[in-house]
Symmetry: C2
Subunit: 197 residues, 2 copies
């Protein structure tokens, strides 16, 4: 069946488990005190300064370099969204460990972390949610990477696919026309590739 929203209602902070709405009082650079409304995750591990990781996994295929992507129904959008593999960091975990674990769980691919980005903030006027991007290498000759065994949660439905890196922006435009939602981190990355060409 096709996933779909039935209803949306206001949620009091007191009944929320994963998110909360807050008001911050701050002093501006002009010395004036003002307030700002924003949203947060309640799940960032104590001692961590970021919420999660995204994974750039480039697969060396006969036809060229392909990037690993996911299709996932997102209730806040009531649409299937195209995104990089991603997930929240667990307590005590490094960004590299979270990236390798999430990639394995969501796609089945066994990878090694290569580089880790600075922290990136998704929507700085709206919320403090943030993540690091980890580039990984995937050894396609490993037996685990030929017979993939993802380990999804009972409420996770993720379709894994890959596209040529050089075509990524054109594909984004096509996906929107087909009714998919686009993740901004993925689409911005694609725009960078396109503009650099």
């Amino acid at each position: 069946g096709r996933a779909r929203v039935i209803s949306t209602e206001p949620l009091p902070n007191s009944e929320a488990e994963w998110k909360r709405l807050v008001k911050t009082t701050y002093i501006g650079q002009d010395g004036v005190t003002r307030t700002w409304e924003h949203a947060e995750r309640t799940t960032r591990p104590k001692g961590s300064d970021f919420d999660g990781v995204s994974v750039i996994a480039i697969l060396g295929k006969d036809t060229g370099r392909e990037i690993l992507l996911e299709k996932q129904y997102r209730p806040p959008l009531d649409r299937i969204c195209i995104e990089l593999p991603a997930g929240l960091v667990d307590k005590g975990e490094t960004a590299e460990q979270a990236a390798v674990r999430e990639l394995k769980e969501e796609t089945g691919y066994v990878a090694q972390a290569l580089t880790t980005s600075p922290i990136m903030f998704n929507d700085p006027g709206f919320c403090n949610t943030n993540f690091k991007v980890v580039e990984v290498s995937v050894d396609m000759s490993l037996p685990e990477n030929q017979e993939l065994k993802p380990e999804l949660e009972e409420n996770e439905f993720i379709e894994v696919f890959s596209v040529k890196l050089v075509d990524l922006w054109d594909e984004c435009v096509k996906w929107e026309a087909q009714g998919y939602a686009l993740d901004a981190r993925l689409a911005s990355f694609a725009k960078g590739i396109q503009i650099a060409k």
Copy 2:
């Protein structure tokens, strides 16, 4: 003076003007009914399917192509964040009109819209906030673009600058080391440029 947070407290939806926390009941593709917590802006104009725009303005300088950027204190992060020029769309406005207007207000540059992207979702599991990216051209020979006259709100403090497009990723890494926060759309765009090189 340096802007800074004094305090942050939970905010009930009933007292919030700009944002709200919601719970959505949805049917998954397995036919099971579940709920999802997320956040929204209350400001999206009726009839619009996006909240705002980001602007890619590339300035032709003697030294090469430079991208126009902003530094702005963000209360949700309690830090100065480096971002693309951006803003919310007004009722009845197209993405192109919003981009040209916001760029003029925030930076003083007078521009013309060239291309408009699909809608991009900032954080699809967290919220429905979204935007379009508009690429604009800036005619540096216009008198308005030599003596810039931004028109900021009384609570807006924005520093405008530009960096070479080819150095954007290396600059992002340096900015984090200097204590700046990085916007994810900008940093992902920079990563795309870097990976395409």
